[in-house]
Subunit: 224 residues, 2 copies
DNA sequence: CTGCCTCTCATTGTCAACAATCTTGCGCTG
DNA sequence: CAGCGCAAGATTGTTGACAATGAGAGGCAG
C-alpha cells in the first residue's frame, strides 16, 4: 500500500521534486527517456503538470529536452565531466573554506568528528560500500556547515554527472587510504578554523578524485 | 514594423529566450509580476506555452513562482546576494585560472588586450557608463577564454541577482581606479600564463566588488 | 469614520481532446 | 537479399474550456 506515504505533493513542483529525487538517487539512468503519459498516469495527474515539471528540471540542468522526442536524463560527455569536475573543485573548496570561517556550534563540531570517525571505521574495516556512503555524507555535511545554500545547490548540480559513475573496484580500494587522509586534513582545518588550509585541502582532495574519474573507460559515458 | 525582426521563435524555448532577454536587459523590473494571458496574447500562442517558458526560467533562477499568483521577476535578498557573491568569487577565479592555463591563440590574446584597452580608455575619459559596459564585456571574455562552458553557465546564473543593481554614482566613480587596476593584474597574469596569480587576482577583484554590493541600502532589495 | 464581511472579477490551475511529428515494422522492388 | 518507401502506432505539441483560487471593491454594522 502507498497509504503510509506522506501523501505526495502533486503540484508541478512536487512532481519535479519527486523526479529530481529519482535522478539523484539513480532511480533513472543517465540518458533515460521519460514518457509524459506514463508519469502522468503514475501520479494520477494530467500531462500538462508533468510537462511543467520537466521544464523546471530542464532549467535546473537535470533533464535534456529534445524537440518532438521529449526529455531524457541529461547525459554528460567525458569532456563535460572533466569541465564540471574543475567547477566542483572550487565549489567544494569554497564550502570547506566557509565552514572553517564560521563559528561552529558544539553539536556541529561533533557531527563533523562523527562523520570522520565513521569513514575511519569503514576504512579500517575495508568496507568499500560503507566508505563510499560515508564519504558522500561527509561532503554533504561540509556543504551544510558552510551555511551557504546557494553554494550547496550548485555543488549538487555539478555532482550530477557523477551519479551512477562506478569506479573499478581495485582502483577504489587502492585510493581509500589517500582519500581519507585528505578528509582528515580537511576535518582538522575546519575544526581549527583555518579557512585557507581547509580550502586548499578540499581542492586537492577533489582534484585527486577527478583524476580517477578522467581515467574511466569510454563505456561509462555512452551509457544508454 | 516588426517585420524585419528575424521571425521570432515561438516554441516554449523561444519564448523563454525572449523573456530572459527582457529580464537581462532590464525591460522587466525586479519583482514585476508577469501575466500569462498578456504574454500569450502578445506572442499569439496559448497560455500553456507561456507557462512552460515560465517554468524553465524559474528553474534557471530568473523567475519566482508563487502558488496561485503566478510568476514575478525573482528578487534576491541581501543575504542571498552576499552568498552568491562568494560563489561568484571562486567561479570567476576559476575562469581566470583556466584562461591562464590554456595556450591562447594570437587572436584571443589580442581580444583580451583590446578589452583591457577599452576599459583603460573609458577610465581615462571618466565615462562610467562605458566603463561598466566594457567591464561586463571583459568578464564575459575571460569566461569564454576559460574554454569551460559549464563554468560559464554557472557564472551567468550566479550573476543574475546583480542585474539592475545600480551602485550609487559617487561610489562607482571612486572605485573605477581600483577596479581597473585589478583588471590589469588579471590581464597580465593570463597573458603571462600564470594560473595561480590570475585566480588570486580575480578573486580579490570580485571580492572587492562584492564588498560594495554588500553596502547597498535596503531599498535595493525590496524594489519591485 | 473605521473595520469587517461578502461578492465579484481577474488570474492561475487543470484537464482532455485534437494536431503534428517521429519511430518502426512491413512489404515491395530491384 | 538489400534497400527503399509507406503506413500504422506511439508520443509529443498545442489549445480552448472549465474549475479553483485570491485580491480588491463595495456595503453594512458598530
Amino acid at each position: 500500500m502507498a497509504d503510509d506515504m506522506p501523501k505526495q505533493d502533486l503540484s508541478s513542483e512536487g512532481i519535479a521534486a519527486a523526479l529530481r529525487g529519482r535522478i539523484l538517487s539513480g532511480g533513472y539512468g543517465l540518458g533515460q527517456r521519460l514518457i509524459e503519459m506514463d508519469l502522468a498516469e503514475e501520479f494520477g495527474v494530467g500531462r500538462g503538470r508533468v510537462r511543467e515539471a520537466f521544464r523546471m528540471l530542464t532549467g535546473e540542468g537535470y533533464l535534456e529536452f529534445v524537440a518532438n522526442r521529449g526529455v531524457l536524463v541529461r547525459r554528460y560527455s567525458r569532456v563535460e565531466l572533466i569541465e564540471m569536475g574543475r567547477v566542483r573543485e572550487v565549489l567544494e573548496g569554497l564550502a570547506a573554506r566557509l565552514a572553517a570561517e564560521r563559528t561552529l556550534t558544539d553539536v556541529q563540531r561533533q557531527e563533523l568528528e562523527a562523520a570522520q570517525a565513521r569513514m575511519d571505521a569503514a576504512e579500517v574495516a575495508g568496507d568499500l560500500d560503507a566508505f563510499g556512503m560515508e564519504n558522500r555524507a561527509y561532503h554533504r555535511l561540509i556543504e551544510e556547515l558552510s551555511g551557504n545554500v546557494h553554494a550547496s545547490e550548485f555543488i549538487t548540480r555539478v555532482r550530477i554527472p557523477l551519479i551512477r559513475v562506478q569506479m573499478p573496484w581495485e582502483e577504489v580500494a587502492e585510493s581509500v587510504g589517500r582519500s581519507n587522509r585528505g578528509h582528515r586534513v580537511i576535518t582538522a582545518a575546519i575544526l581549527a578554523g583555518a579557512p585557507e588550509a581547509a580550502e586548499v585541502a578540499m581542492r586537492t582532495h577533489v582534484r585527486d578524485g577527478n583524476a580517477h574519474v578522467a581515467r574511466l573507460p569510454d563505456e561509462v559515458f555512452e551509457a544508454r
